[in-house]
Amino acid sequence: MIKTIASIFITLGIIFGLAFYENNRVNNTFREFETVLTSLYNKTESGEVTYEDGTATERFWENKKNTLHIWLPHTAILEIDYQLYEAVGYLYVRDYQSALPKIEILLGMCENIPQSYRFSIENVL
């Protein structure tokens, strides 16, 4: 009986611990990425952006996405990869007007993805 009760609390602790850690980790990563993307967006809008800014954002994302693979479905990460590579491609040819909507999509994803995988009643049901 004591073993069963203990195992219930241990399991519950692990599940909630993992959920809390995942929530924090994903939120923090996307918050940082959002900051980087916002800076890229502002520079693109004002025309001060360079191709190096784009590749720096790419490198930042490459570093972060390795750990995100543990927490998020790989398809969600692939979608960000796709949009980011396209945006950087437009920056390379200096087509800023086409790059802006792509960065906007990425900013939207930074808000939506953490919410989609957040530990909440609406996501559980």
């Binding site: 009986m1 219930i8 519950l12 692990i14 599940i15 993992l18 693979h69 543990i70 479905p73 790989h74």
Partner: protein, 219 residues
Amino acid sequence: MIVFVATLCVMRLMGKRQIGEMQPYELVITLIIADLACIPLADHSIPLLYGLVAILSVYFLHQIICLLDLRFPAAKAVVSGVPSIVLNKNGIDDAELKKNNLDVSDLIESLRVEGYFALDAVEYALYEAGGTFSALPKKNYMDLQKSLPIVLIDEGKFDDKNVELTERDRQYYLDILKQNGCTLPRTLVMTVDGNGKAYLQEKGEKYRTVDLAWQKQLW
């Protein structure tokens, strides 16, 4: 490998019953775990963690049900079910059989698996909550099953193949039913062995054995 090790650990933590005799909820949990363990293996876009957390959640549910089982007998009856006595001193309990979605032939088959061939050789027979079958034989059960009984009437219907084996026709058995105050539609079961010993039971009535006084042993 991670999913394999995690599933193995969870199955070991759930105890021996998960591997052998299972309660209905344990079977459900085992089926779900098997499915959950496959998802991250089959779909590479899903992180392993999703499968592991799902397995852990099912283990958590299992432990909760185990706790309810141990603490509250009423909850145990609801979750795991109760044993069902399908054969008692009065013979076959038809209502109990129906409650478990079984028929007389299922009972006879279960008895044969346990080594009891004659219905009157058994004092009690029951299906456990886990689905296993247990039978308590009569003291002299070996004397009661000297020849293999075959089913002639099963829930009001003749088994013509078996009737033929007895070298008699339907009318012969209808007369026997009549002599014993039974009618065919009301007959739950009638078996006869090679020596002409018949086991006869009407629906909702106590069984009786009838010696058909055959001149020779047929099988």
